[in-house]
């Protein structure tokens, strides 16, 4: 039987050792990682500058924030009156590393300043789903036991099978450690994996695709209507780095900002399209949504289109440009006339 707790401890130990060495040998100025949260099913991103503090780093299955978000804008510090770019070591599960790779492809960060501290992620818990199932009660304590998560609260205790309660994206994730390539081998320490071909049947969106246009419309309305437009999804997304988001353009206004369903829909649809061929499926947007909306569905559908049409998966290679950054004469274009 899988022992998740044991797995986590091993990941944590390796990660701390690598981080400690990097700081000790002054290969990095700063480590970005996760620390213990103050609530059950939470973790808090942390910036560590001192090797004595490396033991603050933790790995649990609630490390849902994509730390690549903190790399933009460049982390700078005032050293002797001059702003200097810091060298950053960043604790990276597969999807964090993929974000970094994609940010490099888009020329947003400097390779020289980044050390990817690879870990072999064993899945992130879908905390919103767990919270929703617990309902109105408060979770006061969680505990891993074998391949189960035990959730405790005032007058209740519930057992969840870990594999069933992972994020949907984690369930079929094949890139759990940073994908390594020749051009990146100097930037990765710790765990990594070679990725040749991916078998992603996109089973999680089969049900959605079967729906008629009307049903899809009704479904998306129902999913998105609770959105408060706090933009936590955007802010948590490592690839939403625009200085001014389309929805914040106000001279003149590009898109409606109300919480009417038409405005909500258009925000999420346009954000989805902006992430076409870019989204690395880390699931941070869904994990941070205060209303517990599962936004990854939109990105999965678009990623499937990108995979089918352009045979492209984001964040795997520094050499391959994403379809939206390039143009080929033989790109498929029949959809301009008709889409089934």
């Amino acid at each position: 039987m899988v022992d998740i707790k044991n797995e986590n401890q091993k990941i944590e130990e390796k990660m701390r050792n690598v981080a400690r060495d990097l700081l000790k040998e002054k290969k990095v100025d700063l480590i970005i990682g996760y620390s213990e949260g103050t609530l059950p099913l939470a973790s808090a991103p942390v910036f560590i500058r001192d090797e004595q503090e490396v033991d603050k780093l933790v790995w649990n299955n609630s490390c849902y924030v994509n730390l690549a978000k903190y790399l933009i804008p460049n982390i700078r510090e005032n050293i002797n009156g001059e702003l200097v770019d810091l060298k950053v070591g960043i604790i990276s599960k597969g999807c964090v590393a993929r974000s970094i790779i994609h940010l490099l492809v888009e020329h947003q960060i400097n390779k020289e300043n980044i050390i990817i501290i690879g870990i072999n992620c064993n899945g992130i818990l879908n905390r919103r789903r767990i919270e929703k199932e617990i309902g109105a009660h408060e979770i006061t304590e969680t505990e891993l036991s074998g391949d189960h998560l035990i959730v405790k609260g005032n007058k209740f205790e519930k057992k969840f099978k870990f594999n069933d309660y992972m994020n949907e994206l984690c369930k079929h994730c094949e890139i759990r450690a940073p994908p390594i390539s020749d051009s990146l081998k100097d930037n990765i320490v710790g765990e990594c994996q070679e990725v040749d071909s991916l078998e992603d049947p996109f089973e999680d969106i089969v049900d959605f695709e079967k729906k008629s246009a009307d049903e899809k419309w009704a479904f998306m309305n129902e999913v998105l209507k609770d959105c408060t437009r706090c933009y936590a999804c955007r802010e948590a997304c490592p690839l939403c780095y625009c200085n001014l988001c389309f929805v914040d353009q106000n001279l003149p206004t590009w898109f409606g900002k109300t919480s009417e369903i038409s405005d909500i829909l258009i925000f999420h649809m346009v954000r989805g399209l902006h992430l076409a061929g870019r989204c690395v499926e880390c699931g941070a947007c869904s994990s941070v949504c205060p209303m517990g909306i599962d936004l990854s569905l939109i990105n999965r559908k678009i990623n499937k289109v990108v995979k089918d049409r352009f045979d492209f998966v984001s964040g795997l290679s520094l050499e391959k440009l994403s379809p939206m950054m390039t143009y080929k004469m033989n790109d498929k274009q029949e959809f301009m006339l008709e889409e089934n």
């Binding site: 808090a44 910036f47 408060t228 802010e235 209303m291």
Partner: protein
């Protein structure tokens, strides 16, 4: 006036009666989120709730609200003011912290010569029928903010949950009027009242967080540029979860939407937050709150310094929503403790 008893099985009857005259909002489980929604059937109410995810401020200060509409005829613009909503509302099951938030909201919308009719009208027509918190959450800290899990002063009617029944205490004149009309309510017995007092004490003892808010105030008053703000804001991602779902946050953005093809338009207000990039952006392009340092600081200053200075009230009710919802677990309790620690150290040095 004598306290009454209402049995939980009588809630549908109560709802039926109240909805004849009022629009009733009550906690409802919507896809796993507890929200105050319009209820017509008592069976839809989630009575075993701790607190809602979306605060009930939404009822008096909606996410979006039309201020007026207009039609354009050449150069002539005709403005149609939003109709005065005369609906009478009851918020059933509001918690003491949220009831207190209504007092704070009113300070802002009723400040000096500036009266916000849209808000004040709704507030005037809203009756608060709240329930004390038998089991406060771990993230609750109302007792550090002059609040209490059984604080009843901010409500019209206050109820205490005794498992199968509620002890009902009318507080305001409106509350007394309503209870008088519910003639079928039976009088509470001495033992019910004793149990209510017992529960109140128990609830108070369950709140484990204590914060010295005065220390925070003193710190904020003097340490605007302390390096701690960098530490506090370092991991903040700048989303609006903390303030959108804060019961006391009042900021809004005013937007105009024009439908050029039909020569008409509307002016709306929507929720805004100091965490957003457009929030304090000047027309010159300068933004005095350009980074998360200033934005995080503003949120804390507003609640724990500006509110006490301007209104003599603390701008936080200790509901813990921001703690539960912050995506990076930037815990308000931890932030305040950090500030207090520095303040204590400084006080010591001064004495020494």
């Amino acid at each position: 006036m004598q306290e009454k008893i209402i049995f939980k099985k009588e809630i549908p009857k109560l709802v039926k009666e109240l909805t004849k005259e009022y629009i009733l909002y009550a906690p409802k489980n919507v896809k796993g989120n507890i929200e105050y929604k319009r209820v017509n059937d008592g069976k839809d109410i989630e009575l075993e709730f701790l607190n809602s995810k979306v605060p009930p401020k939404e009822i008096v200060f909606p996410r979006m609200e039309t201020m007026f509409t207009y039609t354009r005829n050449g150069k002539n613009i005709e403005i149609q003011k939003s109709k005065k909503v005369e609906d009478k509302n009851i918020i059933f099951g509001i918690r003491p912290c949220d009831a207190h938030s209504f007092v704070l909201l009113e300070q802002f919308f009723n400040f000096g010569e500036f009266k916000d009719d849209l808000f004040l009208n709704k507030r005037k027509n809203t009756i608060l029928m709240g329930i004390g918190c038998n089991t406060p959450r771990n993230t609750c800290f109302c007792t550090s903010l002059e609040g209490h899990p059984f604080k009843k002063d901010d409500m019209d009617i206050f109820m205490v949950d005794l498992d199968d029944r509620y002890v009902v205490t009318p507080i305001s004149d409106t509350g007394k009027e309503i209870i008088k009309r519910l003639s079928w309510l039976v009088d509470a017995k001495e033992e019910d009242l004793e149990k209510a007092i017992e529960l109140s004490k128990k609830a108070e003892s369950m709140i484990s967080t204590t914060l010295e808010i005065q220390d925070s105030y003193d710190f904020l008053d003097s340490e605007f540029s302390d390096p701690i703000w960098k530490e506090i804001s370092e991991t903040c991602m700048g989303c609006g979860s903390c303030s959108f779902l804060c019961p006391t946050c009042t900021c809004f953005d005013v937007i105009d939407e024009e439908d050029q093809y039909n020569n008409r338009g509307r002016r709306m207000r929507i929720w805004d937050t100091c965490q957003f990039c457009l929030y304090s952006l000047h027309t010159s392009g300068h933004n005095p709150r350009d980074s998360s340092i200033e934005r995080c600081r503003n949120r804390i200053l507003h609640k724990f310094s500006y509110y006490p200075t301007n209104y003599n009230l603390i701008g936080c009710v200790g509901c813990g929503r921001c703690i539960q919802l912050c995506p990076v677990n930037n815990d308000l309790r931890v932030i305040l403790r950090k500030l207090n620690e520095i303040q204590k150290k400084e006080e010591k040095t001064i004495v020494a």
